[in-house]
Structure formats: structure tokens, C-alpha cells
């Protein structure tokens, strides 16, 4: 199904996500060694992320799973270059990442983008939706394009996320519902076409029924554009459904990693076992005595 067909078919049906098998043969997109973040100094020191190693391949969908306070979002912010790294090295497309100046940072952000948990605070309230989308075209070097071409690109992006561009022009982001705003966020990502997308709990503020649509779009971004997606969530069921590989984080450390099937179906770390047992299930009885 191409992107244009996607808007003709209003019913968004997802096929079970394809798992990619040849991960080792793919080039590394983002990797890190001994990445650490320490907040505060002296007695008030908190180690939020503690010597974390990771390697994300091109076109891979990776989930990072952990409870509140396990350091998932801090890790994501470090990867995005929003906060500094206390110790360790992050490599982007095989080379050590250099974001020492704001110019270099802007260049880096062309390759890595994010969707956050709260769509309501993700937009500038003074900018209309056209402006939001136009900015993305300008950011990727499309400033000189004729207006008609820009409109066509914006229409395509809206179409990709099942929104109607004609209905959005002249509206402000806050006039949309939460689910629509989150989709608009994905339309931005579609225009920017970064190499890596960091999705930090993109579905936790959306009800279960609209969740499938968002997941479907992330999978399409991966399959059609070849984006590497880093999916951060506390819902282990969601991670299992969508991802190729899973990293489990506890208190800033990665306690288990592997393919989705390995980690979820045959968990080894006690923490992973506990996370899985805490989720209500359909096919197995839910053991409430282990609280």
C-alpha cells in the first residue's frame, strides 16, 4: 500500500508488524557506550542513567521499557542532544556525535526528531498549523520551492496521517483533539524525514482505540521511509507488539536486552519477569497475589 492509497482507505487496518531478521548485517544508526547522566552534586547526586550501552541499527524499531523513574526519558533527552551527557560517548551513523555548537546541533536535529507524550504542549500556540508544517519544509531546505509544491507536500503529509489539509488551514493546533494533534506531530516527522525518530510514550495520553492508528503510522514510517524508531514506553505489551528489539531499564541501568520474542516470552531478569506479571492479560490468569 503506498501512502496515497492509505488515505483512500479510510479504515486503517494494521497487519501484524513485520519483524526484520537481518539486524546484525544492517549498518549502525545510533550507538552509545557507557552513557551516564548524573544530576546534582555531592550528597544530592542522582545517577539517572548509569553506564548504558546500546546499538540501534538502520530501520530497526527499538523499545525501551521501564517504570516511571527508570531513566527512559533522560536517556531519550541525551540522545536528542537536549541535555548534556555526563560520561560516555554517543555515535551517530558510525561517527562520534559532535553537537558542541548550535549550528552543529541544528544539523544533528535534521537527522533525529522526536514525538513526545503530551501533544497539547508540543506546539507553539501562536503558530497556525500551516506555519508548523511550512517550518518543517523550510528546515529541510525547501524554502525556495514554489508555493504550490509546498502545499502539495503538506497535503501529502496530512494525508499520511489521515487528516484533511483543507480542514486544517487557518486553524490553531489547540483546536484539534489530542489524537489529531499527535497525528499532526507525526505529519511533521513525515515532512522532516529524519534518520531516527524518538517516540517518548506517544500513545499514553490517547485512548486505546486511537492507539492502533498511531502505532500503524510509526510502522509505516519505518517500512516506507526506513526510519529507525526508538519507542519509549512503560507498557510492555505495546513494546512486544510493535518492536524488533527491546531494552529493559531499571534504575538507570539496562537489565535485559534482545529481540522482542526473547525478552518477553523468555524473560531472564527478575525485573522483566515482574513487569510482565504486573500487566493484565487475556489468555493467562492474572496473579494478584504477588503484589
Amino acid at each position: 500500500m503506498t501512502m496515497h492509497d492509505a488515505c483512500a482507505v479510510d479504515q486503517h487496518l494494521t497487519l501484524a508488524p513485520k519483524r526484520i531478521g537481518d539486524l546484525e548485517n544492517r549498518p549502525l544508526c545510533l550507538s552509545g557506550k557507557g552513557v551516564t547522566k548524573v544530576f546534582g552534586t555531592g550528597a544530592k547526586q542522582t545517577v539517572a542513567v548509569d553506564h548504558v550501552d546500546f546499538a540501534f541499527h538502520e530501520g530497526e524499531l527499538v523499545s525501551i521499557v521501564g517504570e516511571s523513574g527508570s531513566g527512559k526519558t533522560t536517556l531519550a533527552k541525551m540522545l536528542l542532544g537536549l541535555i548534556s551527557v555526563t560520561q560516555g560517548e554517543i555515535c551517530f551513523q558510525g561517527k562520534p556525535r559532535d553537537i558542541s555548537t548550535s549550528r552543529k546541533k541544528r544539523e544533528y536535529w535534521k537527522g533525529i526528531q522526536a514525538i513526545f507524550q503530551d501533544p497539547f504542549s508540543a506546539f507553539n500556540v501562536f503558530n497556525k498549523i500551516d506555519t508548523v508544517l511550512l517550518d518543517c519544509i523550510h528546515m529541510t531546505g525547501g524554502r525556495g520551492l514554489p508555493h504550490a509544491k509546498k502545499v502539495e507536500m503538506m497535503e501529502e503529509a496530512c494525508c499520511f496521517v489521515n487528516l484533511k489539509y483543507a480542514e486544517l488551514t487557518n486553524k490553531y493546533p489547540f483546536e484539534l483533539s489530542g489524537g489529531q494533534m499527535q497525528r499532526l506531530m507525526i505529519a511533521r516527522v513525515f515532512l522532516l524525514k529524519p534518520r531516527i525518530l524518538v517516540a517518548d510514550e506517544p500513545t499514553s495520553m490517547i485512548d486505546a482505540c486511537s492507539r492502533a492508528t498511531i502505532l500503524d503510522m510509526l510502522l509505516q514510517l519505518r517500512d516506507e521511509i526506513g526510519m529507525t524508531i526508538l519507542f519509549i514506553t512503560h507498557d510492555i505489551g505495546l513494546a512486544y507488539y510493535i518492536s524488533d528489539s527491546v531494552y529493559i531499564m531499571e534504575h538507570g541501568k539496562i537489565v535485559e536486552q534482545g529481540t522482542a520474542d526473547e525478552v518477553i516470552l523468555t524473560p531472564k531478569a527478575p525485573y522483566t519477569k515482574r513487569l510482565i506479571s504486573d500487566v493484565p492479560k487475556i489468555y493467562e490468569p492474572w496473579d494478584l497475589t504477588t503484589v
Binding site: H12, E67, H234, Y241, E284
Partner: protein, 337 residues
């Protein structure tokens, strides 16, 4: 005849806007819960789940207004009571309510003990404070909360602990019915499990006699409640036991909901995930026929002609759709293949 703790017949409530428009957010809802049973209400945001919860308490304040119908708790009709009367006689000892952000319901400057006293004194002004304390300590211990919680301020407790404290306080008078409106959706999985365990303990130890549990997380409903009711645009569209609803949903909307379930189990992986396209109708002028028609895959012109009544099938189940049950089952099995 079985003992019905809560019975609701044809309850209709409306919101009145500034422009005098009526929005019927709960439209002709009937339900009943038997002693010791729990009922789950599922549906997407804005379908009227929370309004139904507020309406069931009989506690109406503008812009929500009571229109018609009866709410009978253990043989006592509470519909049409004045808000003051409801607060004194119904809330707390007949019906208790836990909102989604229950943890924000606690005044940060007061100790937990004071909230317990407030609840009891509101219903019995002559109660002895020492007895209240003893009773609260015993009850907290029984529900797995340390007695030291009573002397803490709300800010000293974690989110999950606050939520459990609110549940313990609101059920201190042994209400007959507990309405839990998304009590765990702001919590992580481990705290959620503790909250669920506490609700189950309350039922088992007889502190509540029936429970209504509202959420959009279906795996949770499946594990917690005996029956599930699906709401759409202010109306009940299907009801049945939890097992029937999850494994054999009949209404196209229920089926859509059930297909959005994701659990970390082997069976999940091969499943197609389905999203229901579009958004719910505007209830200012709801569609004439089936309210789900605009989003339904299986819509036919007759669906839009006249309102569709609830139809009983398989003896105990009910649904609201123009298609026959047999036809829908055939279509679904064909779809799955």
C-alpha cells in the same frame, strides 16, 4: 429472584450549554448489578462513561441535569433527590465514587486522619473521634495500608499510595456500590496492580457489595469485572459477560474496541490491530438512526433510517445494531479469514 444492589431504568441526563442546547450525554441507560458482582463500562473518550458515573450518584450540578429514569439502590429510589439530600444520605454510605485523579482530591495541608473524620462526621455528627481513629486504623491495616499513613500529609505519599488511601477513605462507611472511574490510568503497572487488588479485597471482605469499573483498558476490565458494557455516544451498545465480550463481541464498535487490545502474550503477535476510523458524533444533533453508522464498516442504508433498540440474544446478552447476530458472526469470521 436474585438480589439486585443497583438497578437503573431508562436513565437520561443532559448537559445544557450556554446557548440552551441540550446534549444528552447519557441516553436511556438501563443496567443492574447483583450482590457481589462487578460491572465494567468501556468506551472511548467522550462516549459518556464518566457522565454516566456522575449521573448514577444522583448528584447533579449545572451544566449536568437530570431528565428522566430511575436509580434504585437496594430498593431505595434516589432519582429526583435534591443535591443536598443526596450528599447527606447517599454519597459515602450508599454510593462511593473514586475519580480518575483521586490523588489530587486530597487537601495537601491536612493529615489523612482528618479526611476520615470528615467523611464520618458528615454522616454522623455525634461520632466519637477516638472511635473513628481506631476504626480507621483497623480498616487501613486490613486493606494493606500501614496505619502510619493516617498521620501523614498527602504530599508525603506516592501516587499509588494516595490513590489507595482515597479508596480506603471513600469506602470507610461500607457503601453498597463503589463507582471507580479510571482509578488506575494515571499509575504505572505495579501500582495499578495494587489498586486492583485493593478493590478486589473490598469486594471479598464485604465492604462494598457491588462495583462499577470504568476504563478504556480492556485487558484490565476483562480481569477485574464479571460483566462488561460498551458505551458509544451516550448509549449502551452491547453488554455481556467479560469473556463473551472479549472473545465474541457482536456490535461492530465492540469488535473494534476488542481488536485494539495489546497484551504481552504469544497470541497477540499475529493479531491484526484495528483502529476505528473517524470520531464520535456530535451529541448536539445525534444521527437519526444508528449513532455508529458513520464509522461502521458494515453500514447499510437502513441503519440510518430510525433509532435502533437494544435487542436480547443468547438469552442474557443485549446489543444495539440493525444487523442480525448470525449475519454479523458470519461477516466477522469471513473478515478474519
Amino acid at each position: 429472584m436474585s438480589n439486585k444492589v443497583l438497578e437503573v431504568r431508562g436513565l437520561t441526563t443532559k448537559y445544557v450549554t450556554r446557548f440552551r442546547e441540550n446534549i444528552y450525554a447519557v441516553d436511556n441507560v438501563s443496567l443492574s448489578i447483583e450482590e457481589g458482582k462487578s460491572l465494567g463500562i468501556a468506551g472511548e473518550s467522550g462516549c459518556g462513561k464518566s457522565t454516566l458515573a456522575l449521573s448514577l450518584m444522583g448528584y447533579y450540578f449545572a451544566p449536568l441535569h437530570y431528565t428522566s429514569g430511575e436509580i434504585i439502590i437496594d430498593g431505595k429510589n434516589i432519582s429526583g433527590m435534591k443535591p443536598d439530600e443526596v450528599r447527606k444520605n447517599v454519597l459515602g454510605n450508599e454510593i462511593a465514587y473514586i475519580p480518575q485523579a483521586a490523588m489530587n482530591a486530597l487537601n495537601p495541608t491536612r493529615r489523612i486522619r482528618r479526611f476520615v473524620e470528615d467523611v464520618i462526621l458528615a454522616h454522623d455528627p455525634k461520632a466519637n473521634k477516638k472511635q473513628i481513629s481506631e476504626m480507621a486504623e483497623a480498616r487501613f491495616a486490613e486493606l494493606g495500608l500501614p496505619a502510619s499513613v493516617l498521620d501523614r500529609h498527602p504530599v508525603e505519599l506516592s501516587g499509588g499510595m494516595k490513590q489507595r488511601t482515597v479508596i480506603a477513605i471513600s469506602t470507610i462507611l461500607k457503601p453498597k456500590v463503589l463507582i471507580a472511574d479510571e482509578p488506575s490510568s494515571a499509575l504505572d503497572v505495579t501500582s495499578q496492580k495494587m489498586v486492583i487488588k485493593m478493590l478486589r479485597d473490598l469486594m471479598e471482605k464485604g465492604y462494598i457489595r457491588a462495583m462499577i469499573f470504568i476504563t478504556h483498558e480492556l485487558p484490565l476490565l476483562y480481569n477485574v469485572t464479571d460483566d462488561i458494557m460498551v458505551m458509544y455516544a451516550g448509549q449502551i451498545v452491547e453488554q455481556g459477560t467479560a469473556k463473551q465480550m472479549v472473545f465474541d463481541p457482536i456490535h461492530p464498535y465492540s469488535r473494534g474496541l476488542m481488536r485494539s487490545i495489546i497484551v504481552p502474550e504469544e497470541g497477540t503477535r499475529g493479531h491484526k490491530l484495528a483502529a476505528i476510523p473517524g470520531t464520535p458524533p456530535n451529541l448536539k444533533n445525534p444521527p437519526q438512526g444508528c449513532r455508529f453508522a458513520d464509522r461502521c464498516q458494515y453500514v447499510v442504508p437502513q441503519c440510518r433510517v430510525s433509532a435502533i433498540p437494544m435487542i436480547t440474544f443468547d438469552n442474557t446478552r443485549e446489543y444495539r445494531c440493525g444487523h442480525a447476530v448470525q449475519h454479523l458472526r458470519e461477516v466477522y469470521s469471513h473478515d478474519d479469514a
